[in-house]
Every structure is written in C-alpha cells, then in structure tokens.
C-alpha cells in the first residue's frame, strides 16, 4: 500500500510553504520564491541583497548562479581564500554588510579566524592582492600590466594565472555589489546583532563567539549535537555549527597564543578581547591606504591616461574569451548577467539604459566610438547623474545616497533596476581593465 507522501504535513514542508507565501505576491513571482527556497535550504539564509533583487527574478537567477559559482563551486582558489578576497573587496567600500556576510562564510568554510584580525594577519599572498584591489575599486584605469606581473612573478608567494583571474572576478563582483548594496541602502538596515524578524538573514552572531563565551561550548558539547547537526535546515543549526567552529578554532588559537605569550598579563588579554570585538565591526582592518578614492577621470586625461576604447577591447570579443579560457564557464555566466540586465523588462527606454551604462563607463574612462555623449545630458537629469556617479564611484556605507527627484516617483523595482544597471556596468568596466592588463601581460 502506498500513500502519496506529498499529502502529509511535515514540519519542513510547512516551513517551506511559509517562505513560499511570504514572497509569493502573485504567480509571476513564483520563480523568485523557488530561488529563495533553494537558497534557504542550501545556505540556511536568504540574504538581504537577494531579497532586494527579487523584483527582477530573471536577473536574480543569473546573479545567484554566478555568485554561487565563483564562491562555492569548482575553481582554483580554496574556499576560505575566496571569502577573504570578498571581505577585502567589500572593506574597500566600507560595506559592513558584505564584510559580515563573508566573514561568517569564511569561518564556515574553515578559514583561520586569525586572518579576520586584519590584513596583516592574512598570508602574504593575499596581502599582495591588496594593491590591485585598491586600484580596481577606485581608479580601475590605473590597472597595469606591471601589477599583473608583480603578482605572477615566480616566487614563493606567486599567483597562478587561473587563480588571479578568479580573484579578479571576485573582487570586481564584490566591488560592484557594494554599489548595489549602497544604492539600495541595504547596509543601513543591517544591524549585526539582531536577527531579522523572519529569522532568515545573516545567521551570524560575531560577538558571542568573539568574546570567547565559555557557556556556549558546554552547551554544545551535549550528545544532542549530532542530532541537531543533522537537521541542518533551520538556520539556528547553521548558527550552532558556526559558533561551534569559531569556538573550536578560537580555542586552538588561544592555546597557541598561550604557548607563545605565557607571560602576558591579564590586562593585555582583556585588551585583546576588546580588539577582537572590534575586528568584526571595522572593515578598515582589511585595507591599506584608506584615503584613496575615486578621482575624476577627465581631469586625469592630461596625465596621459589613454581612454579605453571599447572597440579595441570589448567584453564580447576579447574579455569573454580570455576569462573563459582561464576560469572555465565563468564567461558564460557573466555574459548571462550582462545580457539579462539589459533585456530586463522595464519602464526605462533602451536609450536611457544605454545612457546610464555608457555614462558609468565614461566616468571610469571607457569610451564608445559609436556613442554620442551629448545624449547622456539629454536623457539623464543632473540629480540622476549625481546619484549614478555617487553609487558607482563612491559607494560608502557611512553616507546615504540622496534619491534623485527623477527617480522618486518610480516604483521600487524601477529604482532597483537602475541600481542593477550601475552594478553590472561597473562590474564589466573593472573586468575589462583587469583582463586587458592580463592580456597585455600575456603578450609581453
């Protein structure tokens, strides 16, 4: 006798259905709910960024696929490295939200908590990446063949070409994601200690663990641990795992430190704990040269910075082939993203989209021979231009972008669409500069 299983009410199923109902506004959004459910089941959380993008399910799908691929799937870099690079990239724009998110994931995949104390604690190989991170984030046109050469120069700390390409993709992805986070104001919603009402967003509580709260491990050491771990669906379990892991590595580290610094006074230890509290909150630990920021490209022109001609190095012809060769399949995924963001159904006319896209590329020094830049001024109001520039070039969590008047009457989804355009344009610009430098290196 067989009873159809799907008629049975299991707790899990009801939970999924709850999520289902939460995001399901109408039939068209079913796709989103499915994506969210998938994310929820596999990661234990749906992050705020995905929730924002939910208004554009078609794009969200390719975005999540790319992100999943570069952070979790096959690739030359070890998982903790990937998240650490993401932390470095997000820290460049003081994006607390992404720094938290990736710190948590960094620990979850077994990263050394010591690294989170700051860039100095990270292995020298990652520290080498700091320069290109800085340049790509703020003045990508400075990316030069010589930077690539320094990184690839043979030696103990050298990068392989494939690793470097993945690192660059992660950097560019996170920089541009910072723009989106800033544009959508996700960062200010994010309060690290509190759990969001539906219990899904970042299931990470840095302070408990950082304090080395000894009550936690005892509680975890009970035999029920095994059972809870198996029920990995609810986020609390991930949380438990995470805490446990932090705790474990914390203990290991403490032991190590004890051995090293046995003479340390109690006061000093206190200070150290204090510091650990900070390292989760302060992204500046992961960057050097915090004052470096975007400068007008136009003003730089007399310093002989050649404009970047898309007709000479384009994503479709050149960038794609190179990136796909060195990091297989990523080209198709990124191609999909660029394609879907331009073809999203939207109230904006194609001309406006192109104007936004080209304007961002323009402020980053990339020019199209076949575009009349007068159109930018016609189509984009002054405040919209300011907004775009602020989001693309100065995404800084400490400030809030002023929403331009011309965007105010629009629906949220349209505003998000503009932010998506900004993000993708910026991503492509950074990739083009980095990949051109790599091409030049390969020819030289």
């Amino acid at each position: 006798m067989i009873i159809c299983t799907n008629k049975m009410e299991y707790p899990l199923r009801t939970q999924c259905q709850r999520v289902h109902k939460q995001v399901m506004v109408n039939g068209e959004k079913e796709r989103v709910s499915l994506l969210f459910m998938k994310a929820l089941v596999s990661r234990g959380s749906v992050d705020a960024v995905s929730q924002q993008m939910a208004s554009h399910p078609q794009y969200l799908e390719s975005f999540l696929r790319t992100q999943h691929y570069i952070l979790h799937m096959d690739g030359p870099l070890p998982l903790p490295y990937r998240h650490y690079i993401a932390i470095m990239a997000a820290a460049r724009h003081h994006c607390n939200y992404l720094v938290y998110l990736h710190s948590a994931q960094f620990l979850r995949v077994g990263g050394d908590p010591l690294w989170l104390q700051g860039l100095e604690a990270a292995p020298p190989r990652l520290r080498l990446l700091d320069h290109i991170n800085k340049v790509l984030a703020h003045q990508p046109w400075l990316t030069a063949c010589s930077h690539i050469q320094t990184l690839l120069k043979s030696g103990e700390q050298c990068w392989s070409l494939a690793e470097l390409v993945q690192a660059v993709v992660i950097l560019a992805h996170c920089h541009s994601l910072c723009s989106f986070v800033f544009g959508c104001d996700t960062d200010s919603d994010f309060v690290p200690l509190s759990k969001s009402p539906n219990g899904t967003p970042p299931s990470f509580c840095p302070f408990d663990a950082a304090n080395g709260n000894t009550n936690v491990p005892q509680l975890l050491a009970t035999p029920s641990e095994h059972i809870t771990r198996r029920r990995s669906l609810d986020s609390s379990c991930d949380m438990v795992c995470l805490k446990e892991r932090i705790q474990k590595s914390q203990e290991e580290r403490e032991k190590r430190e004890e051995r090293l610094l046995q003479t340390q006074t109690l006061q000093q230890t206190d200070m150290e704990e204090e510091e650990e509290m900070i390292f989760f909150t302060d992204p500046t630990r992961f960057i050097t040269d915090p004052d470096l920021c975007y400068q007008e490209f136009a003003r730089r022109e007399e310093d002989h910075f050649q404009v970047f001609r898309v007709q000479d190095y384009s994503w479709e012809d050149h960038g794609f082939s190179l990136v796909n060769r060195l990091y297989s399949d990523i080209g198709h995924l990124l191609d999909d993203r660029f394609r879907s963001v331009t073809t999203l159904p939207s109230m904006h006319s194609p001309d406006l989209k192109r104007a936004i896209w080209n304007y961002i590329h323009c402020v980053l020094g990339i020019r199209y021979d076949d575009y009349d830049y007068g159109e930018v001024n016609q189509l984009l109001a002054q405040d919209l231009k300011l907004y775009i520039k602020a989001v693309a070039c100065f995404p800084d969590a400490t400030k809030t972008p002023v929403c331009p008047l011309s965007l105010a009457p629009l629906k949220t989804s349209e505003r998000i669409h503009v932010n998506l355009l900004i993000m993708e344009a910026r991503l492509q610009a950074e990739l083009l500069y980095a990949l051109r430098a790599i091409t030049q290196y390969m020819i030289a």
Binding site: T5, N6, R13, M37, K38, E316, M442
Partner: protein, 789 residues
Amino acid sequence: MEKMSRVTTALGNSAISGRTMFCHLDAPANAISVCRDATQVVVAGRNIFKIYALEEEQFVEKLNLRVGRKPSLNFSCADVMWHQMEENLLATAATNGAVVTWNLGKPSRNKQDQLFTEHKRTVNKVCFHPTEVYMLLSGSQDGFMKCFDLRKKESVSTFSGQSESVRDVQFSMKDYFTFAASFENGNVQLWDIRRPDRYERMFTAHTGPVFCCDWHPDDRGWLATGGRDKMVKVWDMTTNRAKEIYCVQTIASVARVKWRPERKFHLATCSMMVDHNIYVWDVRRPFIPFATFEEHKDVTTGIVWRHQHDPHFLLSGSKDSTLYQHMFKDATRPVDKANPEGLCFGLFGDLAFAAKESLISSDANRKPYPGGDRRYPIFFFKKPDPTEQFAHVSSALSVFETDLDSNRMDWFVKTAQLYLLCGKPFAELCDHNAKVAQELKRPQVSKTWTMLRIMFSDPANLTTPGLNHNLSKLGTMPLMNSFNMKEMSSGMGTESRLERSKGESRQDNIHLEPGNSHASNNNEENEETEGSEGQAEYMFCDAELDDDDLYSMENDNQAEEPEYTLPQEAFQLRHEIIDNPSAPEHLQQDKADSPHVSGNEAEVTCLTPIESFSLISISQPLFSPHLPASFFCPIVREMLTYYAEQGDVQMAVSVLIVLGDRIRKEIDDLTQEHWYMSYIDLLQRFELWNVSNEVIKLSTCSAITCLNQASTTLHINCSNCKRPMSNKGWICDRCHQCASVCAVCHHVVKGLFVWCQGCSHGGHLEHIMNWLKSSAHCPAGCGHLCEYT
C-alpha cells in the same frame, strides 16, 4: 615551387613573385584588403589607413589616406575592402557607425568620396558585390544590414536581422542575389538582396557570436563560419536545411576565416584572443593544422590571400603593428612534428600498436594495413605538389593477443575481498590473511604473513587465536614448531632472496628447507644478536591457553579499547566529510596505533599464567628477551619492494596497511603513494569498490586519502516527479516539494536513504533502524509491515 607559381599566376594578369617579408606599421591594424591585381594592399585600423605596394623584396608605402590634423572618428576603421572590379574604389567601416567610400582617383589629398552615417552603432563589416560595381553592403552592431548604391546619397535597402549585432556579411560568389550574414547570438542568415523584408533562411551555427563567414570561391554551396566557441564549421547550403559537413576545432575563438584559392579543402583562420598564429586547415583533417604561420607577436586581425587564383601568398595584419607577406613554402607543418605512433589496449588485454612502416619494416612477412595507402584526391591541379599534401604516412598495425587464461586474476579478487586490513589485533590480522593466502594456494604469501606476525608481535601476545586454527586446521603449521627463532628470521631473508631467483614459480616448504639451512650457515653473526633459542617455542606455547582465560583477557581488552567492542557495521552510518586532509590522517593514526597498545596490555596480562598451559614447551625462558620490531624493518622493506616489483602490489599495500606505523617510516612516501595508487587502480578495474574505498580510507598518504573527497557529487531525481534535481538545494524545481524526506524525523535525508521495497517509505538509515526495532509498522503510517534485515 618556382614552377608552380608560374603555372598558377599565368591565370592572373601579371606574374606574382616574392618572399616572406614584413614591414612595420605605425599603429595596430584592424583589417587589410588587397586590390584585384595583387600589387597593392590597404591596411586600416584605429590610427592607420595606408596603402602599401607589394614589391619583390619589400612593402613600399604608397599612400596615406589618413589626412588632416585631427582626423575624425570616420577614419577609425573596423573593416576595409578594396573593390574587386574597380581599382580606385575602397570602402571602410568606421567604429563610430559611418560607412565611408574612398576614391583613389581623386586629385585632392583627401580621397574620401561618400559618407553614410545611417548606422547607429559600430559597423563591423563592409562588403562590395563581387560583380556589381556600385553595390555595397554593410553590417553593424545595431543589428541592421544596409545595402548602398554608390550613385545615391543613402541606402537603398535595410535588412533587419532581428537578432542582435551583425558580425559579418558576405556576398555569395556564385549567386548574384544572395548574401550571408552572421550574428552575435550564433545565428547565420541568408538573404536575397531583392527582398529586404525577411531572410530566406536562418540557422544556428555556433554557440556564442559567429565572428566571420566566407563563401567557398568555387563551390556554390559551401559556407565556412567561425565563432567564439573556437570552431570553424563548413556548411552545405544547397540542401533544404543547412548541413554541417566539416568541423574544425581550434584552440581559440576564430576571428577570420578565408578559403584558400585553388585548394578546395583548405582554409585559413586567425584568432581574436590569446593565439597569435595563422592556421591553414585541410577541413578533412580537422585535428591538426595543415600549415602554420607563427610570425606575429600579437593577435592577427586581418588575413587575405594575395591573389584570388594563387594559393601561395598570404598577407596578414596584426595588432603588433606589422604587415606580413607569408610564403606558403615557409610555413611550418605541424604534422611533421606529430607522433605517428599509436598504442592501445583492448578489452581483453590485446595490445594494438601502429607505427610508421619504415620503423618496423624489418619484419619481412608483414603486410601493410589495408586502407593505409589511400590515394590523395586531386581536384584542381594536375600534378600534385608534394608540399601541398599532408605528409603521407602509412602505418603498420600490429595486434598482440594475450592468452586469457594465463593471467587470470581470480586470486587477486578473492584475496582483495577476503583480506582483513584492520579491526582486529595485529596478530589476528596476519593469521587471517595467511589463512586466506593458504587457501588460495599461495603458500609463499601465506608464509610471509605468518612471519610478519612473528616478527612484529610481542612474544607474549602472539599466542592467542592465531595458533588455535593453525594447530587445528593446517597441517603445515606445526612444522614450524621445529624451527627456532633464529631460523625463522634468517629464513626470512633467504626466502625472499630465493623467491627473487625463482621468480613466480611456486615455492613450497620443501624448497625452503635447504635454503634455510644454507642461510643459517651464512648468517652466523645473527646468532649473537638474536639471543636465546627458547623463544620460538615459547611463542607457540600459549596457544593452548584455556578458553576461560582467553575470554577474560579479551574482555579486558574490550573494556579498554572500545573500538573493538563496537559492533562493526558494514559501513559507517555517517562519516564526517573533512576538507582538511590532515584530519583523517590523525584519525587513522589512532586506529593504527590501537592494536599496538592492546598488544602491550595483553603482554601484561598473560605473562604470568603461561607456564601451566604449555604443552609443547621444551624449555621455559626465565626472561623474555626479544628482538625489537625495528630490527626487521629493513628486511620487510626489501620484501615489500620485492613483491611490488613482482607485480603483486596487493601484497605490498596490504602489508603496509596491516603493519601500519611499524613499517611506514621505513618506506619513502612517494613509493607508498605509488603502491597505493596502483593497487587502488587495480581494485577499481575489478570493480572492487568497497575494498578500494577501504584501502583509501586506511592509507596514510595524504594524497591517497583525499581521493575519497574527490567527485563526491551525487545526482538525484525528485522522488515526487521523477525529474532530475538541480544541484542547488533539496527542493525540486518542478513540484516544489522537498525530496526524500525521512519518514521518521521528517527532514530531508542528505546521506544514506533506506526505504522499504514494499511500501516505498523510508528515511535516514539510523532512524529507520531504530524505528523498526520498536515497531513493526511503517513509520509513515501506511500500515505496511516493513522488514529491516
């Protein structure tokens, strides 16, 4: 060569001659085109627009068309074409979307003739009609193709591809009205110039952009296309549906493709990224280029055959700011460097070997493989030029058959299945394995195991169960009682030596005896170190420990070593997946250590009661001096190497695992890894997956243990709708249900899933097991009486 070029150029108006030569341009070139009589070439790029004359020894700059102090973007060319009818007429495609024509007959410095600014985006390609003077076609990034009549100020017709950017347009050589267009989304369209409303035919040629296409100069139906997917495809357009007849896989995206004149099956390609070479392919031999030109230092952007009836001159422009004339005779022929030998194993161990006939011609009675001397088809030239063909290699194929029975590997399979590698004390493992080998009629291996037990066990511990069965079952074993320790150890050395000399031949105890006596004479110095003789007897005397005592001792062990008390499951229910390879190593060290520890314990417990139970005892030692296990290590190492070299890597690995820490440090890691790899490979070929997994798990090499963590992906289908699940998450795409939910805990089962074949309900193995211990009914409540065995 000289003769050839004269023959062919006789077709043209003037004789063409020359050599491989190049000149520096001021700027990177984007495209080149050659005039009809093959005397001049035009080079166009972002910052260059020049005409060079092709002279015997060099390029000579004839004209700079890029005039004016600050040339406009109209001069920035993406493509250029020289009219094949009208000598003074050129057209360029500008990156800003303009289509410009140039009249060289103009008296002024600026030769610009017409300017069409109808395209909104970059124009990728311009193409003159091959026979019509005033007809020009353009294809642009904006997705439109336009046909211009040069006598009019604007386009006469616009073709909308409806599918993204146009990358190339080409008039058909033979069909007056037809042109082909290739698109960024992978499509190729055929148009009739008279019908701008819709295309005649469309097909998807590549995944990703189709960068170029070229009609065959002689065959009306053939169209070659090249794309970003690194392929060149030749399509037969004469049939109803475009049919792919040839496909060449290159190593980089294909930017240009040009059929070679006078050679039906040859075409030249160059790439847009990474690869700087120009390749000439014979489409029938798609795996290796027919010829390669390797002169350029940066990507080649334009290639053109110098004369439409001369296959020997190829011109190319590049981003490295050079213009080259390549002579075909100077090309490199990759086939010369290719390896024409082949070697392959058949399913049943047959070996096929193909090699150049010249290499194995010494064998007189060998016949060339039929079909090896196919004639090369000749199409357009009467006398085949030897340099115009693939090097003709006829190979001889030899097949070596193997006798199926001679290398039966039954013993291997049985041994692999029956051997115990862990989970019991060392001595028991050795005895068990010795027994297994004995039963498979491999006495030599069996003896080796027995000796290993003797050598590495602590004397007191040797005892126990091993001899029980030795005494009771094996007739050969009691024989050993007559050996003393000294003989055993020295015999060990000689045995392995003996074996080496006898190879695989069977070896019995009879052989062993003379060897032993001989060896013991030789090894007299051993005697001093080996100490008292009584030891050997002492080792066996414990065999008769009475049962009670035996059990009590084992119970002791069990209390101390929970590892053995746990009922051994066929497999572990859920083993932790560990990313860090160092972790499992640690785990295994524990395991390998533990039998050792228990051995020590046994020693303590059973030293006292020994006396009363010895039946065969001859002399009782007052003290128990014994050789340290490390004493034997060099011998054992030698023995392992010997087995491995004999091809019995199974023995080497099994001993390695059973001995564990006792021997591991003696053998360098690389050798160990090599043995493990070979053994695992063998096991997997015999489909002994469980054994191979066990070996992987028990190995201590980090390189081996990490094998278990590779390719751990499991593809699953949804239990509701039977469709494959995507790799993310545990929710089915289609029916939005969680797949494989455990009937007991109602959570997704991510590990082992066990289900009842009667009612098809199931869940976590452990949960179901527990459930069915207490209840006979299905946990899902369906009322079925499930059975778990």
